[in-house]
């Protein structure tokens, strides 16, 4: 007869697939670790690898024997991979993955740095600086895409930002004017994107790509017309000053990197927190996320979907434009044609890799920045690997990140779909 107890559905046992994603990543890590220990370990000379805390070869340093270190970190990677193979709890998966990759990189470094030195401060600083435009670009993407508008035009926004920063900065002899006009430049491209995508319902990826080509053409054209012939009048912007926070800048490693740097760095880092807070804790954030996930639902409660999307795309444009200013006000002292060479797309990859969150984007941007910095370091240090392959590192890292590590990520559900009332 009837049972008086709450139903208990015992799950029928199912043979679970053996090679699921976690296991496969584990195998990959083990393989990488073994390769690292074996190859890097053998190739590494038995000399000391020094990771110095100061700018030069002397002074305090973390030292480790090159061959030993390569093998050691290789084994750490193997360990992480084995743990994944053994199917640990889900919470630890990402951490183990990060540890494994970190170990592989360290193993590689032990090989490369053996007999030489690697200035940690310089490396950290370089990483953060290279990542700077990526952070800003990715944040611009986060804001836009969380509201449902795909922004492939980050590259174009960078170019416009870089160009106008140089142009106006020179003409007004003011770096601040340059910075502001960089933001304006980004807004121009963003405005075009917004109108085409939201009002005219053009495919958003297509618009983004075409806008990039447009920006390349316009900046190239104006460069040839104005700057090439008269660098002094148009293309010698002042640089962003470096400011130092007294006290904090003396902390080893972190101090000089975070507290003795240009204002754009602080703006970028602050924005990460601000955007995060905004998205999770404010009315604007709630509405933005709603519009990106289920615009019809937002519409039915009276939210102006298109207006919000416009606003967010334009704000993103300003941020990305400011990111473009990095190239001409910080990294170099003048504008060159096509100087961004794909940074905008790497920022886009950082956005995806970071799962459309501000802190994720920060992490991903730092990762890609590190890849690039590593390439520069290795080529400076005279690595046997040809420089072109080293320069491929950031791009290959992006591919692996997007294809392999990320798994099937979920974009905001309405990302890329124009909102049409029906």
């Amino acid at each position: 007869m009837s049972t008086a107890t709450v139903e208990e559905l015992t799950e029928a046992t199912a043979p679970v697939r053996f090679w699921d994603r976690e296991r496969r990543l584990g195998v990959a890590l083990v393989a990488l670790g073994v390769a690292a220990a074996a190859i890097f370990g053998t190739l590494a000379p038995g000399k000391t690898a020094r990771f110095t805390l100061s700018q030069d070869a002397t002074g305090a340093a973390l030292s480790i024997n090159g061959a030993f270190g390569a093998v050691l970190f290789g084994l750490v990677a193997v360990g992480a991979g084995a743990a994944l193979l053994a199917r640990v709890a889900r919470r630890w998966q990402t951490t183990l993955l990060v540890i494994g990759i970190l170990a592989f990189v360290l193993s590689f470094l032990c090989w490369q740095v053996a007999g030489k030195f690697m200035p940690l401060v310089d490396t950290a600083n370089g990483t953060l600086q290279v990542a700077l435009p990526l952070i800003l670009g990715a944040l611009a993407g986060v804001i836009g895409e969380r509201s449902g508008v795909v922004n492939v035009a980050i590259e174009g926004q960078f170019l416009f930002g870089a160009f106008f920063a140089a142009l106006i900065g020179t003409m007004a002899t003011s770096v601040w004017a340059g910075l502001i006009s960089a933001a304006v430049g980004g807004v121009i491209i963003a405005g075009m994107l917004a109108v085409m995508a939201i009002r005219f319902l053009v495919d958003q990826v297509v618009v983004g790509i075409v806008l990039n080509l447009f920006a390349t053409g316009v900046t190239g054209f104006l460069y040839e017309g104005l700057m090439q012939t008269n660098q002094k009048a148009y293309n010698q912007p002042p640089a962003l000053p470096t400011w130092s926070v007294p006290g904090l800048s003396s902390i080893p490693v972190i101090g000089p990197v975070l507290f003795n740097t240009n204002v754009l760095t602080w703006i970028a880092l602050a924005l990460v927190f601000i955007v995060h807070f905004g998205l999770t804790r404010t009315r604007w954030g709630l509405r933005t996320r709603a519009v990106g996930e289920h615009p019809t639902a937002a519409d039915t409660v009276g939210i102006r979907v298109r207006g919000l999307r416009y606003m967010n795309v334009l704000i993103g444009g300003a941020i990305a434009g400011a990111g473009g200013a990095y190239f001409t006000l910080v990294a170099t002292a003048s504008f060159q044609k096509n100087m961004t060479s794909g940074a905008g797309f790497i920022a886009l990859a950082a956005l995806i890799f970071g799962r459309w969150t501000p802190f994720g984007a920060l992490g991903a941007a730092l990762f890609f920045g590190f890849a690039q910095k590593l390439a520069t370091y290795l080529s400076a240090v005279g690595s046997p690997v040809p420089s072109q392959f080293l320069n491929m590192l950031p791009y290959l890292a992006t591919i692996i990140a997007v294809a392999g590590l990320v798994g099937r990520v979920r974009a905001p559900a309405a990302d890329g779909q124009p909102y049409v009332k029906s």
Binding site: F214, S341, Q388, V402
Partner: protein
């Protein structure tokens, strides 16, 4: 939410037949695709004209005192614009001076046909890269990697060309095939990644573009590829047995354009009448329904990217075997990116892409002359090319600007918006 339609609406009255002239005029001023394309070009050139004026500092100065003597500014602007666009036309189609010289015996026929030859020369690789993008789009994939695929195609075609030692005709075929295969491999990577991991092909292909470029600069320096008699970054040259035959002399137009037309026909047939074409169109329109009907979406995506890569690779091959003959860091030029624009302008249709490629080839050829004779930067051509596509991709925008009536039957550039 749309309301499901009520069954069988009532039949409407047939309108009285209109005269041909009325229909013609009505269609002329309606927003069908031909009209939109032409108006987009016009609009782009207007903006281009503004850029020309801005970048000429002499003319800019005359605007400084526009209120007191406007005629200076106006004539100055007119001169510089007409000089620029005049040379654009002459470089692209024909130079009346050269034609009349030929008529009168003072010039050669080669001189008269020089411009057309240049146009066709530039157009040929664009047809291939454009088709690459168009075919991928029809299958629902964004192939932004045409540049990288073409670059690899350049490399494999050139190396096959100068390393094979095959005799005439065979060498050319071998090199072309090598280019096709090289591009196909470069397209296979994003295809398989998309099929297996769902990785978005936009990012992957863009990253592969930059990787291909770096690979090119490296490969040029490799022993066996690098020209031992030169110290700069240039490879050995493809011998005549591997080159696409051309008219010779100043006329650079070569067999590449003929090949392009043939491939266009093949692609058109593929899309319309082949089983694979049916599959890729189905998957492009609705992957879920295709899957339910038994079509393997993963296999289709992979094969599609291989085909698209192969087409772009063929474009690279045409470039290097038709005009460049050697590998340099800039050998692939911009043909991949321009291929994207060409496909969009051609509405992702095979023959439309061909004509769009001809237009872009014309702009390129004309742009060269515009730069040499009128001193206008070649970048303007890039701007024009992008603007045309922007306007074409948003026919609603052009409609609004020109107050066109909505076309009755035409479906305008209705691409489905996709996200990630």
């Amino acid at each position: 939410m749309t309301a499901t339609e009520a069954p069988a609406p009532e039949k409407k009255e047939q309108p009285a037949k209109e005269s041909f002239a009325t229909v013609f005029v009505q269609n002329l001023w309606s927003a069908n695709t031909v009209v939109v394309t032409i108006l987009s070009i016009v609009l782009a050139m207007v903006i281009g004209a503004v850029l020309i004026v801005i970048s000429d500092s002499d003319v800019l100065k005359t605007f400084g005192y526009f209120t007191s003597r406007p005629s200076d500014a106006i004539t100055g602007s007119w001169n510089v614009i007409s000089s620029a666009y005049g040379n654009l036309f002459k470089g692209a189609i024909l130079d009346p001076a050269a034609v009349s010289a030929w008529m009168h015996g003072t010039g050669t026929w080669q001189g008269a046909f020089y411009s057309i030859s240049e146009t066709l020369t530039y157009a040929a690789p664009l047809v291939f890269t454009g088709l690459s993008v168009a075919v991928a789009f029809r299958g629902g994939l964004f192939n932004i990697g045409g540049q990288g695929q073409a670059t690899i195609g350049c490399i494999t075609a050139a190396v096959a060309g100068f390393a094979s030692g095959l005799p005439i005709v065979l060498n050319l075929i071998f090199a072309l095939l090598a280019g096709l295969i090289g591009g196909a491999i470069w397209g296979f990577v994003p295809g398989i990644l998309k099929a297996r991991t769902g990785a978005h092909e936009v990012i992957i292909t863009i990253m592969l573009n930059y990787t291909a470029l770096l690979f090119l600069t490296w490969v040029i320096g490799v022993g066996g590829v690098h020209d031992p008699k030169r110290s700069d970054a240039i490879s050995k040259a493809v011998p005549t047995s591997g080159q696409l035959p051309s008219f010779g002399g100043s006329l650079r137009v070569n067999l590449g354009i003929v090949l392009a037309v043939l491939v266009t026909a093949a692609v058109a047939w593929l899309l319309k009448s082949s089983a694979f074409g049916f599959e890729l169109r189905a998957v492009g329109a609705n992957p879920a329904a295709s899957r339910t009907a038994g079509i393997s979406v993963a296999k289709t995506y992979t094969l599609l990217m291989v085909v698209a890569g192969g087409l772009a690779g063929l474009g690279g091959a045409a470039q290097v075997l038709g005009t460049a003959y050697t590998l340099t860091p800039a050998v692939a030029g911009n043909i991949g990116f321009n291929g994207l624009l060409v496909a969009l302008l051609g509405r992702n249709k095979a023959w439309g892409t061909l004509f769009a490629a001809l237009l872009y080839g014309a702009l390129q050829a004309g742009g060269n002359r515009m730069q040499s004779y009128a001193g206008i930067s070649l970048e303007l051509v890039g701007v024009l090319q992008a603007l045309i596509v922007i306007f074409v991709a948003a026919p609603a925008l052009v409609k609004t600007i020109f107050h066109l009536r909505a076309a009755r039957a035409a479906r305008l550039g209705a691409s489905m918006a996709k996200g990630w």
